[in-house]
């Protein structure tokens, strides 16, 4: 329940939200043009949009950090931020759920049906005779041509270990922050960043391998689709997470965050753990099984 010490902080008007909205609009407008093949308009508009969004992020977070350091926020405000971050992460979980759902549905139901199992016998008989269900598959018409998958026990395993250890290092860093060991904080947060970057490095390597040697691409039927969309969106989240880690590392280096008030740090840590858990699911369902 809400107990009140001092008034809840309600900020003045701020130009950042609408600036952000304009930036998002420019970005999306550009992205749509770019996708439709209007490269030039697309690139310009995307660049403008991205620049506006970045400015907005700096401005907005700058304001929040200053307010926070100025002691404007009480416990209750802090809780609002926590709730906000929590439910934001939940929405991300649901975004991934859509793609995992696609994976489970095709693997578990629709591919077997195409192959003539159960309910799909007649479909197979009339339309796809000769196709037997299997996973991985690029479908009865062999879309994209034969391909190989990436073995789970090589780079993906390594990446799993990397992300799992990064989960440990960020926790250590958090404890260090709470205990007031700034140096240890910076070191372990730094490790986390390095682990994140190396994850991305390996992942990029893996993608290059897939495209150049394995003929595993976005065009490789349903396997390629689910594989790249799931790991791709995850990679995007790791990238964002890493950027966020770098930002808080810089803030820590500047001496921001106190022992008992460091929500920014925690938010990033939650996010990082979320990315971590998604990866474990990916490792299991995309690579191992």
């Amino acid at each position: 329940m809400a107990q009140q010490q001092g008034a809840y902080y309600v900020p003045h008007g701020s130009k950042w939200p609408i600036v952000g909205a304009v930036g998002m609009f420019a970005f999306m407008w550009g992205a749509a043009h770019w996708i439709n093949g209007n490269e030039l308009e697309g690139h310009i508009s995307i660049a403008i949009g991205a620049a506006i969004i970045l400015t907005m992020l700096f401005g907005w977070f700058g304001t929040v950090i200053r307010e926070s350091n100025g002691g404007t926020y009480n416990k209750q405000v802090d809780l609002s931020f926590r709730l906000g971050m929590m439910w934001f992460i939940f929405s991300e979980v649901m975004f991934f759920a859509a793609f995992f759902g696609a994976l489970f549905y095709t693997r578990g139901l629709s591919v077997p049906w195409l192959g003539g199992e159960g309910h799909g016998a007649i479909t197979n008989y009339y339309l796809w005779r000769g196709y037997t269900a299997a996973w991985p598959t690029n479908g009865p018409l062999d879309i994209g041509g034969a391909f190989h998958t990436i073995p789970a026990w090589g780079v993906p395993l390594l990446n799993t270990l990397i992300l799992l250890s990064s989960g440990v290092t960020i926790t250590v860093a958090h404890h260090a922050l709470k205990a007031g060991y700034r140096k240890q904080l910076l070191v372990f947060l730094g490790f986390t960043i390095l682990l994140g970057v190396s994850f991305l490095w390996f992942q990029a390597h893996e993608y290059i391998e897939a495209y150049t040697h394995l003929n595993l691409t976005l065009h490789s039927g349903i396997y390629g689709s689910t594989f790249f969309m799931l790991t791709g969106f995850h990679g995007l989240h790791v990238t964002l997470g890493t950027i966020m880690l770098i930002v808080i590392w810089l803030r820590c280096a500047k001496g921001d965050f106190s022992k008992d008030s460091h929500f920014g740090f925690e938010a990033v840590a939650w996010y990082w753990h979320f990315v971590d858990i998604v990866w474990v699911m990916l490792f299991l369902f995309v690579y191992v099984l």
């Binding site: 049906w113 195409l114 007649i122 479909t123 008989y125 009339y126 339309l127």
Partner: protein, 302 residues
């Protein structure tokens, strides 16, 4: 008919026609209700529909009746004074349980019909239906256990309607009539699907471009035609006649213009028709065969 005239003429009709039921082959003006159709399934579905409808009417009478009484009796202008009670657990339980019972009573027949509907085995005739933008292709697959030799054709909107339907065609839809005088605007095709009566027909339905919906109300169901998948359903027509339907799933700009017409004839007549088709196919006097790939769909606008 001008629209004023139509309203005038029809207002008289609406009372008389009440729950106008056509033979079930096609819709009629001022029609209010589903038709019983011409297949064992459609009769069952009609009964289920009416049953569901009356159940709803019954609940409606109770609920709206109570509301109306409340609105009349408990008005402040009538001097009503508000009570202060706020809850009653027993009532809540009652009006949770009664609807559950009603729903069970609805679900039971629905389940039985559905199970019947999904049994496509032992069909006497199998027809493959393929949707294209914006026409249907019919291929006769087997009849009475024997494969049919290359009988198949494309069925699309008849030209009279096709001309009249254009924007600014200057032709009134009322001017489009079949030989029997029926207003068949948009519900006529160049070549109907011919089927035997009193024969269980298995329809295996698919599409080649986008999703279509194959729907002849007199059969009692519609089935989406999904590219890459086969959807099978069955029907059995009990009365000879012409049965009309339409594509039911939005499939692009001419979605409104891909009707379905079934001509149901007695089995003997059907056998004759089929034999004639087969020999024509064999003699090669007809170019359209089941093996021929149909004309590719025209590109969408834009």
């Amino acid at each position: 008919m001008s629209w004023t005239a139509r309203i005038g003429a029809a207002l008289a009709l609406v009372l008389a026609a009440g729950s106008a039921t056509a033979a079930g082959g096609h819709p009629v003006p001022w029609q209010l209700n589903m038709t019983e159709g011409a297949s064992p399934l459609s009769h069952q579905v009609y009964d289920l529909h009416m049953y569901g409808f009356w159940v709803c009417v019954g609940i409606g009478v109770v609920v709206f009746g109570a509301m109306i009484i409340a609105m009349i009796r408990f008005r402040r202008s009538k001097g009503a004074v508000a009570e202060t009670w706020t809850h009653n657990a027993r009532l809540e339980v009652i009006w949770t349980i009664i609807p559950v019972l009603i729903l069970i009573a609805l679900a039971y027949p629905a389940t039985r019909i559905l199970i019947n509907e999904s049994n496509t085995g032992d069909a006497g005739l199998t027809i493959k239906v393929t949707g294209y933008q914006w026409k249907w292709r019919y291929d006769y697959v087997d009849y009475q256990g024997r494969p049919v030799d290359r009988v198949g054709f494309i069925s699309k909107l008849a030209s009279a309607s096709d001309v009249a339907r254009q924007l600014d065609s200057g032709i009134s839809p009322d001017a489009i009539k079949s030989k029997t005088g029926y207003d068949d605007y948009l519900l006529n095709v160049n070549e109907p699907l011919v089927v035997p009566t009193n024969t269980k027909i298995r329809f295996v339905i698919t599409a080649d471009d986008v999703i279509h919906g194959w729907w002849v109300p007199a059969l009692g169901w519609q089935a989406d035609a999904v590219p890459g998948l086969i959807h099978d359903m069955w029907g059995e027509i009990d009365t000879p006649g012409t049965y009309r339907g339409q594509c039911a799933q939005l499939c692009g700009q001419d979605h409104a213009y891909m009707p379905i017409v079934i001509k149901a004839v007695a089995p003997a007549a059907f056998r004759g028709w089929l034999a004639a088709q087969e020999s024509r196919a064999r003699l090669g006097t007809i170019a359209r065969t089941a093996q021929l790939t149909p004309v590719p769909a025209p590109a969408p606008r834009g």
